[in-house]
Symmetry: C2
Subunit: 497 residues, 2 copies
DNA sequence: TTGTAGGCCTCGCGCCGACAA
DNA sequence: TTGTCGGCGCGAGGCCTACAA
């Protein structure tokens, strides 16, 4: 008997994943995370070359012969929600049309609706779990948290001795995956899980996003661990449709349609990043007022490099200064939202090449520095200033001994802060002057308020002609001085007026 | 205990195979096969665009706006013997410098030596075996023919109950592979074989070439099955240096330096072929008298598209005509040389676009058509005419009932052949006239001899001014009328004067 | 509740003897 | 002599229970 172990088993069923196929926007947002903000079509944004460059997997050397502004006003002409065929990473492709400065100051925010997602946000439920060592190990299955199983999967028949059912999950490409779901003191995905791990090349720290649509269809998305962004990624050589795990239509082929990969040996690096030349090309087109496309992979720690003009206007209304207290929402690996608190250490352009740039203008120190790694500089529109605090406990002072800080910021700023407990609050006069493009020239600026005596923390006025008014739009209490976890069904409401 | 099953095991040891590194010429020829003829540096050849096009993995559409001759005289400026990093296929890269026609007719064959290989040919021994189903099966090892083991491997100690030793074979890239060689009623390679099969992606019908150098170093080469030329090839995703089979230096990375691959899904197609644009580029340069490079993968059934001018001159001395008997040496999968016999069915340009082309000028019928598939047209310099035969048995007549032929050639040509048993024999007058570039115009030609009455087999004179002389350079007897097998240590001597 | 360890079973691989072409 | 089959043993994978954090 000849056993034909070789041969093209299931080969004919293979088909390329279409890398240009759009993903359902709601599914996309669920997988990307609720803090990811993609501007609506026809809204107006600022494009930041510096921010774009942070998404390249290689250093970006901008051409020195052309004058590149720190931000370029654009209209969002198109938005495509997509997913990388190999990594399952979701990304957005935006077509941006540069605007004249005169087009920015008028007619702002007259796009209908606040956020194209907010109206339909409730139709999708999601649950995110970061994979543990045991989940990845070949010896076992996937430990499914009780809440995940209860909210996502159909109910099991617990009268059975070993309740079990088949679960069908569709990935972002539309491929269906079958898992055996058993309940034995806890919920476990067994058969099918190992193939999924192998096929998606899941590693410790990666996250799985279970998404249930309104019609109870189940989807599965992947967020790669932050550590893998700069790391290598195995190029999958072969799917195993013969195991029956991957169901019809079994797209198994690999697309190289993106074409922005770099390799070391047989591993692909630069996952979720773009080519430096793409950034330069975009900037060149933008400078020349030509429409251009940008690709944006959402990733924690690298903010969007396209920001709604209204957001920036709001951020500019604040007189940012050293010692100011703020909070910022970050999404954890398991889709929970942490409100982290910190203090502004300095207000200074991040890159001397763009002395007037707002990009990562704020250098900050965190109350709990171990919760945020490698994020020392923030954009003004990323944070919310804290208006008041009633005691030293809320400032996170009790944590100081547990989380020792750098000597340079250990104590000096605290006395200064209490000298001006409310900080400088400013507003932007209602004028149609195109203030966004005004030069940020320190010598030309007017000194407003001195908050700190710390020599490393010079006061830096943002715009001439601002005055101080009380500010009342702090929305969340930072009670107890520790991070607040919000369930993933609650979205950040940073933009609410 | 945490078992780190994942991780980059042996990753740091990986290194790219240098696709530009030359292979030892003797090893190269042993792997390529003894019938492969690569011209010597500084020899003069004709380059055939038609032949080159046969090596493309896609149809070649030559530009219609330029006049492309059927052959371009060239000097061989450089020869590189190389091996494909992925498939282990050997190939030659030749730099050709186009010549004026006046440079061809004079000073022919005054290159020192006959063949740069012939002088050192005896220093390498080789043995070729085509892989059987059992060799490929995962269940077993490699059945090593007795002769292979005896001539290639060190002798075993047969006093042991289970004689065994480790065999080290170096592939064409310089990678060393270790095999366990045991003798149990026959020679078998066990441990290490399976990994080798997986890594080299060996399939049924592929051939292994064992080569022993003069210093007893062992090498291993691969010839892919003819069937795989147009088929898909798995892109190897991962070597397994951790098994210890692949020894230091363990180049494990995959090179994409050739860059001439085409893919369907995760499989590479066009193995051992080139891009159509490369052919067109070469032809364009050649037409403009610019030096150009060609890549040649030796393959059974696709003759070299660069042919020594002396070979063509010899071939042109024969007045090819229908009904002529010939023999041709072909190398089998296991490096044995078969002398096949056949009859010329017609002499007609293969492609109407090149009516004067010699390329595949001869349409032939084989005595044993099942031994040669898909080879109906041959180049005149590929075959040797048979000068005489003593009985009908030598014509292969007894085989006719066993191998039924098409009705169109079944009988009619036989009586005609016997009418002119010796066929027209011609010679080329010794003249320095540049006859190679003379137009091949049928209307202008002089009729010499009529050999056949078969209407499909019109007499076609090749060159004006030829006359018939006796020809005595038939070197091999086709005794018994069947194919003669010659051991692989014996090379074809077709070129001997 | 959920991460991790381990028992135990299955299956595929791989070595080698048996048999046959 | 050598291709193929099959027994047998080993080890990895995979399912599920036990235990602990």
């Amino acid at each position: 008997m000849v056993t034909s172990t070789k041969g093209d088993n299931g080969e004919s069923k293979k088909k390329k994943i279409d890398g240009n196929k759009d993903v359902d926007p709601q599914l996309w947002h669920a997988v990307a995370g609720t803090t990811v903000q993609i501007p609506q079509v026809n809204s107006k944004i600022f494009y930041f070359p510096q921010g774009h460059a942070e998404h390249a997997y290689e250093p970006v050397n901008f051409p020195a012969d052309i004058n590149i502004p720190s931000k370029i006003p654009c209209r969002v002409a198109a938005v495509h929600y997509r997913a990388d065929p190999r990594t399952d990473l979701v990304y957005a492709k935006l077509r941006l049309v540069p605007l004249q400065i005169s087009q920015v100051s008028i007619d702002e925010d007259n796009v209908a609706g606040v956020d194209d997602m907010s109206v339909t946000k409730n139709q999708y439920q999601s649950y995110t779990k970061t994979l543990s060592e045991s989940d990845i190990n070949k010896s076992g299955g996937f430990s499914c948290p009780k809440k995940c199983a209860e909210t996502m999967f159909p109910p099991l028949d617990y009268s059975d001795q070993l309740p079990s059912q088949d679960i069908y999950l569709m990935d972002v490409h539309g491929e269906m995956w079958k898992f055996r779901h058993v309940y034995a003191t806890r919920n476990i995905l067994t058969t099918g899980w190992s193939d999924f791990v192998t096929n998606k090349q899941l590693e410790l720290g990666d996250s799985l996003v279970f998404v249930k649509a309104a019609n109870s269809d189940l989807h599965i998305g992947i967020r790669r661990s932050k550590k893998r962004n700069d790391c290598r990624f195995n190029f999958p050589s072969k799917r195993k449709p013969e195991t029956g795990t991957l169901l019809q239509p079994p797209y198994g082929g690999l697309s190289s349609s993106l074409g922005n990969e770099r390799r070391i040996g047989d591993k692909v690096i630069g996952i979720g990043k773009v080519k430096a030349e793409d950034v330069i090309e975009a900037v060149k087109l933008g400078v020349n007022m030509q429409p251009f496309d940008v690709v944006y992979y959402p990733r924690v720690g690298t903010p969007e490099f396209f920001v709604k003009t209204s957001l920036i206007r709001t951020a500019l209304q604040i007189g940012w200064d050293c010692g100011m207290r703020f909070q910022m929402a970050i999404e954890t690996d398991s889709s929970k939202i942490n409100w982290l608190m910190g203090t502004i250490a300095s207000v200074e352009a991040a890159d001397p090449a763009w002395p007037d740039s707002l990009w990562r203008l704020l250098q900050v120190t965190w109350d709990n520095p171990d919760l945020v790694t490698n994020t020392k500089r923030l954009n003004p529109w990323q944070v919310e200033t804290l208006r008041y605090m009633s005691s030293s406990k809320e400032l996170g002072l009790p944590q100081l001994p547990t989380f020792p800080m750098d000597g340079q910021f250990s104590m000096p700023y605290l006395p200064n802060y209490f000298q001006t407990p409310k900080g400088p609050i400013m507003y932007l006069p209602e004028t149609s002057m195109p203030y966004f493009q005004q030069p940020f020239n320190r010598d030309d600026a007017t000194t407003l308020t001195t908050v700190s005596n710390n020599p490393a923390c010079r006061k830096v006025p943002l715009v001439r002609g601002w005055s101080v008014i009380p500010r009342t739009n702090a929305k969340k209490d930072a009670s107890e001085g520790e991070t607040v976890e919000i369930e993933n069904s609650v979205s950040s409401s940073k933009e609410a007026a």
